[in-house]
């Protein structure tokens, strides 16, 4: 990827990270850690990868994203706002009464949200349904599903992986945000899903392991996925929970905690533009 474009994406990702902190700080609740870990991938999807038109969010031919780890919606809402689905001003209403920015994604009321999600394990199945509909209708759209590495402890996820492979959903790209942490601690201590690459391969996926914060890596994985026509793709994205805010990085308690005023100021000062 050219440096100019990479810097552009990096700056958008920084804006999205600032939006995430703003939302959670204003709401005094929400999930900053897992939102920050997917910020770069969400940026790439909404600003480079996906075939979408913010002025026509229900276009039947659009690419879709299902945020199966729905609690990370501050990242999704930030991307949608920055991409022009609605005003960034609305981000201030996140989690407040009468806002369409619900605590977890609501497809009925939020422009650009393709599937309601939040109860872990269900989004990936819905993504399979959307991908299957695309195949049945002979449409060319692609479906992206972002899951957490804690979320995949849900049995339904593996039912869905079996389904995706059985029905050759090559238009489905699963992204597993492997940040290594879940509410009760490290995934490897709470309930290990490793070796994940082997499991995904055994379930019939084309597997790519990437650095979730490297745009070259991200681009190369999505390009390969697009050219894989005989099976679904799983991108295992090694990420840092809380990425970009020093005191949140790899700290499990930032899964679902809002920063206080001082922490907010520090976070925002660390998320300045790169140029």
């Amino acid at each position: 990827m050219e440096e100019i474009q990479k810097n552009e994406l990096k700056n958008i990702a920084l804006r999205i990270r600032r939006d995430i902190i703003e939302q959670v700080y204003n709401a005094k609740s929400g999930h900053p850690g897992g939102s920050l870990s997917i910020a770069d991938i969400i940026t790439y999807l909404y600003f480079k990868e996906m075939n979408i038109d913010p002025s026509n969010p229900k276009d039947p031919d659009r690419d879709r994203l299902v945020l199966s780890k729905g609690h990370s919606c501050p990242a999704l809402y930030a991307a949608l706002a920055e991409r022009g689905y609605f005003s960034t001003e609305i981000l201030k209403t996140f989690r407040k009464l009468d806002s369409f920015l619900q605590g977890h994604p609501d497809m009925k009321n939020t422009p650009g949200v393709d599937m309601s999600s939040g109860s872990l394990g269900q989004g990936i199945s819905a993504a399979c349904g959307i991908a299957l509909a695309g195949k049945l209708d002979k449409k060319n759209y692609r479906v992206y599903a972002i899951l957490g590495d804690g979320e995949i402890e849900e049995g339904q996820v593996w039912e869905a992986f079996m389904f995706a492979s059985h029905y050759c959903l090559s238009n489905l790209c699963v992204i597993i945000d492997r940040n290594g942490l879940q509410i009760d601690g490290k995934c490897k201590d709470v309930m290990s899903s490793e070796p994940l690459e082997d499991k995904m391969q055994a379930f019939g996926f084309d597997v790519k392991v990437i650095d979730a914060h490297d745009f070259d890596d991200i681009e190369s994985a999505f390009n390969t996925a697009k050219n894989t026509t005989d099976r679904p793709t799983a991108i295992i994205a090694n990420s840092v929970k809380g990425k970009g805010v020093s005191f949140m990085e790899n700290v499990v308690s930032w899964h679902g905690t809002a920063p206080n005023e001082q922490q907010y100021e520090q976070a925002m000062s660390e998320l300045k533009e790169v140029r």
Binding site: P60, V66, D106, M107, K108, D114, M115, S116, G118, S119, G121, Q122, G123, I124, S125, A126, A127, C128, G129, I130, A131, L132, A133, G134, L136, D137, G155, Q156, E159, A160, M162, F163, H166, Y167
Partner: protein, 311 residues
């Protein structure tokens, strides 16, 4: 008159209406039993077997519906309303998607498979979900019409079908409408409000009650949600005593729904006839129903109780 299990009517109706409507049908390795196989044989390209994975099936159905399709997802009531309750609530109910849940093998009339497969709790579970329509047809004629109504309704619908063959009790030209109850026999002393296969038993009970000089109305409530409150209140006032009858727990089902309706507007004694707070057991379907007094004699007993409570 026709005699068949409502699951059979369901499978046939899917195959019949798929000519006119662009339906997709999902099953979880039970198409032989749920009778969606009748559809699958005619429209294999619109049938998707999800394997023994109901949770995934329900959310896949949501994804298909989110892409504009009318989808039926089928399994036994136990696994659709029971096992996959939270998927139904969050993947289908919350976004109000156009998914129809075709639940067969509901209630005690599953018979030999016993308690693990006899779902007496599904109506209670499904009717608490906002926006969910809950239909429990009384006979093969109504089962077919309920499928058609579900297709034409925009939003989630739970359809409850049985395994045991039952007699046709409604006329061939019967009119079915979501949210409407039907008075099948009028009466003045008591009204028996029944649903599913208990409607036929209620008609028999009403005849038996004539011998005892008790005039019992029989009302078919196949649309448990939305409920025809107007009709129920009318009979609460007219008769002053109600008996509800269902092949379902007396907790949370039709009996509860009727009590909720009358207690808020026109209170009168309501006796709930159904499965008491207990599990079922194995046996031939009719024998199991008789054992739990889910028959005309059981209704007569409850009617006598209800009448004795009248002021």
């Amino acid at each position: 008159m026709l005699k068949e299990a409502t699951r059979e009517s369901y499978g046939k109706a899917l195959a019949e209406f798929a000519e006119k409507y662009d339906l997709y049908v999902l099953d979880a390795d039970l198409s032989e039993a749920t009778k969606t196989k009748i559809f699958a044989q005619k429209y294999p390209e619109r049938f998707i077997d999800c394997g023994i994975a109901e949770a995934n099936m329900v959310s896949v159905a949501a994804g298909l519906a989110a892409s504009g399709k009318t989808v039926f997802a089928s399994s036994f009531a136990m696994f659709l309303a029971g096992r996959a309750f939270e998927q139904v609530r969050n993947s289908i109910g919350y976004p109000h998607l156009n998914v129809k849940l075709g639940a067969t093998h509901a209630g005690l009339s599953v018979g030999e498979d016993g308690a693990t497969h006899q779902c007496n709790e599904d109506i209670a579970l499904m009717r608490t979900i906002p926006g969910m329509v809950v239909l429990n047809p009384a006979d093969p004629v109504e089962a077919r019409l309920a499928v058609k109504a579900a297709i034409e309704h925009d939003g989630p619908v739970y359809l409850r079908f049985g395994r045991m063959p039952i007699e046709q009790i409604l006329p061939d030209d019967y009119k079915f409408e979501i949210g409407k109850g039907t008075v099948l026999k009028d009466g003045t002393d008591v009204a028996v409000i029944a649903t599913g296969l208990m409607v036929g038993e209620a008609l028999k009970a009403a005849e038996m009650l004539e011998q005892k000089s008790i005039s019992a109305a029989v009302i078919n409530i196949s649309s448990i949600k939305p409920l025809d409150k107007k009709l129920i209140l009318e009979y609460s006032i007219r008769c002053g005593a109600l008996v509800t009858s269902e092949e379902h727990s007396i907790i949370g089902g039709l009996g509860s729904a009727v009590c909720e309706a009358v207690s808020e507007a026109a209170p009168c004694p309501v006796i709930r006839h159904g499965v008491e707070d207990m599990f079922g057991k194995s046996g031939a379907a009719q024998k199991v129903l008789d054992y739990y007094k889910l028959n005309a004699e059981g209704i007569v007993q409850k009617v006598l109780e209800a009448v004795s409570l009248k002021k």
